[in-house]
Amino acid sequence: MNANVEALSGVGWMDQFRHRLYSAAILLAVTLGSVWALAIDVRFIYLLVYVWFGVIYGVLLQYGRFCMAAAVRDLFAVKVPRMAVGMMIAVGLYALVAAVVTLTGFSTFHPQPLGWHVLIGGAIFGFGFVFTGGCASGSLYKTGEGNLNSALVVFSIAFSQALVVSASGWFDGLAPAAWAQSAAAKGMPESLSVTRGWFDLFTAGYIWDLKGQTLAELLAVGDSPVTTIFVNTFVNAILPVLGILVALYAFYYRKGFLRKSGKAHLGWSDELAGMWAMCTSSKNTALAGVGLGIFAGLHMWVTGALREHYEIFNFGELLAAMGYTDGLSIQNTVFDPGYWYITTQEAQWGGWVLEKLGVNMMDNVFFGLDNGLPNPLLNAPGFMSIGIILGAAMLALARREFKWKFPTWESAFFAIAGGILMGIGARIAMGCNIGAFFATVTNGDPSGWIFLAGMVGGGYVSVRVFTKWMDWKVAREGGGLL
């Protein structure tokens, strides 16, 4: 029914050519930058792996319009399940690839500590992302499309996280006394001041006492590879994905399908055909999911192999060996997850800037002990995020979808406020929609489903608030409609 027409009266081949040229120029710049880095020290290959995987993630995200905020929001705001379906298919396919990587022994994945913080953090994150118009990964790819409002979201996430992990004041008192006792008992170096700053109390006094386990470990099913894969991949990822897809079909798709089919009653084969129609209409997002699954798996494999080659556990050791010791944590480490991650490296950007402005950002567990504060030019996962922006820009330019978009007062306010909430939520939950959900559920860690539950709950409330705001605005601006 829906026909697509290109009315390119204003678009000559020159315009098309110009866009492709810009796209190629980005590719050339990343290539030249890589060669330059290798000329300085061949060990920068470790950092370049992040850069190039970032570029690939960016291309795939833009191709599939991969946005978790859209998945949750469209479901509640306009009852459109398209992105949610695509996202679930992507999770299932990614889980299969992750299983192969785990079997080869190159997985760099660590399960997240499981506790109430995952639910609460997820809810705050989900509340924020309806207002910003994009999740952590969505905001990065939209920045690559020239959307400066999304760039503002990334900026806001970076600084709010840096402030959350380093702030201390009267609110330290809100942390339970048990956390302070537990944190003090950890025997951390004086320089980290773990009993000061609520995030330090939260990390050292609460998170460290929790355990992160895959479902196979949680159920203690033994360590035979077949059982582990069955529990971690099939039970933890594929089964819930199928359950959610059936629910999405039943609640959001079936009615329309019934109407279109013209039948009064659907038999089993019709229902299956309906499910299939629903899944194939989210083709681009699902295809992006396959690609993301394969490349995220490869990313773990390549980083794992490089760690073995250089006999290191963490990029910090390599940086120290190359003579770059600025910004390493007291354990000589930097943030180096070895897989797809978004928010922690953004927190490091914010933290690095604040440190340069004279704020002591290293007297906390998050930067001082764990992740360090490397110069952004030496921040490997940071380059993955920049790679995502550049990769998305390349494809957006090639498809003529790149356009500079400037924020309005209203959208800037939402970007900053929503970004702050996303930053706070991501730190409390110890990750975003990628680090705390996508990478976890696909690697056998059930905590990601708790994060999703929180995120969906927060998103639901947020959609209600946002719709009220829109109603009020439309009513105020008159005309009945616009």
């Binding site: 697509n4 204003g10 929001r73 306009v78 459109v80 994009g134 978009k405 959208s411 946002f466």
Partner: protein, 114 residues
Amino acid sequence: MEWLKRLFGNHEEHEPLLSRQEDLPGIGEVRIAYVVDCMGAMCPRPQLLTKKVVEQIAEGEIIEIVSDNPAAVEAFPWLAETLACTCLLTVRERDRWRIYLRKGLGSEAAGNNG
């Protein structure tokens, strides 16, 4: 302060909201009842505005949605279905898309569209 206003003002070239006659390729002459101007708008604004407008128009009336947000544009055929509308046509121009929705599902006008 003028530069601030310029930076945060809405930069897009906006569409006149008046109803008009339009000759749609493959569909023919139709009357556009409303233009939903979503230039520069982030999701979920285009979807919510469209939903609002669809609630106010009569069955069979056609609206035009103008958007420069590729993710929103791609989702419109799905949105049309949930709003019980027919997505007639999507026209891509240099820096925007025009989507034509008719309230109501399938009928004689859509039949012209091959």
